[in-house]
């Protein structure tokens, strides 16, 4: 979504007209659900978290700085909400998405069942490793690898100095590598 359009929608929402919030919700929910699932590990909790985060964001729109982009600001709210859910034990990281994630893709069928099984096993291993590395490492990996955010955006979302992002990413990647190795994965 173009920044000018986004700003205009937010201005309209601030006047109390919730209809103008719909395009923002629809634009950010696909990436929002990815972040929430990766943090919470299951679709049901992720769905609840996403919904609550959008409501919180709407209620806080009057505090939103229009010079900023809505995305990182919203993901900061969502990430904090997911962490609150995990802390208050409303949710815990559960790998209930595995079956959905390992669903056969059309391209896999052409490569044969053996290749599909290998790929599914590798993904399952990766998900198990993610479960082991803990919330802090998981969230920064998701923001970088799945969401594709730049370092400055990650710094904004996680509320850390930009210079710390590379170091946090290194520790997260190393933790993931160690977890994979401890589960039998081999690297070149």
């Amino acid at each position: 979504m173009q920044p000018e359009v986004e700003r205009e929608l937010i201005r309209k929402c601030r006047t109390g007209d919730a209809r103008f919030y719909e395009p923002l919700v629809r634009a950010y929910e696909p990436s929002g659900i990815r972040l929430a699932v990766a943090m919470l590990g299951n679709m049901e909790d992720a769905h609840d978290a996403l919904q609550d985060a959008f409501v919180k964001a709407y209620e806080a729109l009057h505090r939103f700085d229009l010079r900023r982009s809505f995305g990182p600001w919203f993901f900061q709210i969502l990430r904090n909400h997911c962490r609150d859910m995990l802390r208050s034990r409303q949710a815990r990281f559960k790998l209930e998405v595995l079956d959905e994630r390992l669903e056969l893709r059309p391209a896999d069928a052409e490569k044969g069942p053996e290749r599909t099984r290998e790929r599914a096993a590798a993904k399952e291993l990766l998900w198990r490793a993610l479960e082991r590395i803990g919330e802090e490492h998981r969230e920064i990996l998701v923001l970088k690898e799945l969401q594709g955010f730049r370092y400055n955006e990650i710094a904004q979302i996680l509320d850390i100095p930009e210079g710390t992002v590379a170091s946090r990413l290194f520790h997260a990647r190393r933790a993931l590598k160690d977890a994979l190795e401890s589960m039998g994965a081999e690297f070149p």
Partner: protein, 141 residues
């Protein structure tokens, strides 16, 4: 002598976060060091594996917009409902109080209404106090 390559440099190199000159310096250092090359290839494999965990488009069918909209418009509904009830109650009480009904009937009706309000308030207050001290209030499932 050039600065040593740190882990942070490697991460910035992998993520394309370095300025061109710095990128070339790190690339040259990696090419000339077996240890660095191996490290980069490991982290590249980790990165690639993670990126392979993209969503199947079919796993996320329905939008949360409907639920979000309900949350956002609910307060307006409550304001209208409570406001409307308050106006009608006030008007009803005024009409009743200024009507030609016997004073004892007004007193009896007033006592019933006040009694119901007190009982209801008592129950709500009790439930609220229980909720405040409930250790399981955050446990949904």
């Amino acid at each position: 002598m050039s600065d040593p390559i740190t882990h942070d440099d490697l991460m910035r190199f992998l993520d394309g976060e370095l300025p061109p000159g710095e990128h070339a310096r790190i690339a040259a250092a990696i090419d000339s060091s077996t240890e660095l090359s191996r490290e980069v290839s490991i982290y590249r494999a980790v990165k690639g594996g993670f990126q392979g965990l993209s969503f199947h488009p079919g796993t996320y069918h329905h939008s949360v917009w409907d639920q979000v909209e309900r949350h956002l418009t609910r307060p307006i509904g409550w304001i209208l409902l409570v406001g409307g009830v308050a106006v009608w109650t006030g008007y009803g009480a005024y009409v009743f109080a200024t009507s030609s009904v016997d004073p004892w009937e007004k007193l009896a009706a007033g006592a019933v209404v006040i009694g119901v309000i007190l009982l209801l308030t008592g129950v709500i207050w009790e439930r609220y106090r229980e909720w405040l001290t409930d250790p399981y209030r955050d446990v949904y499932r």
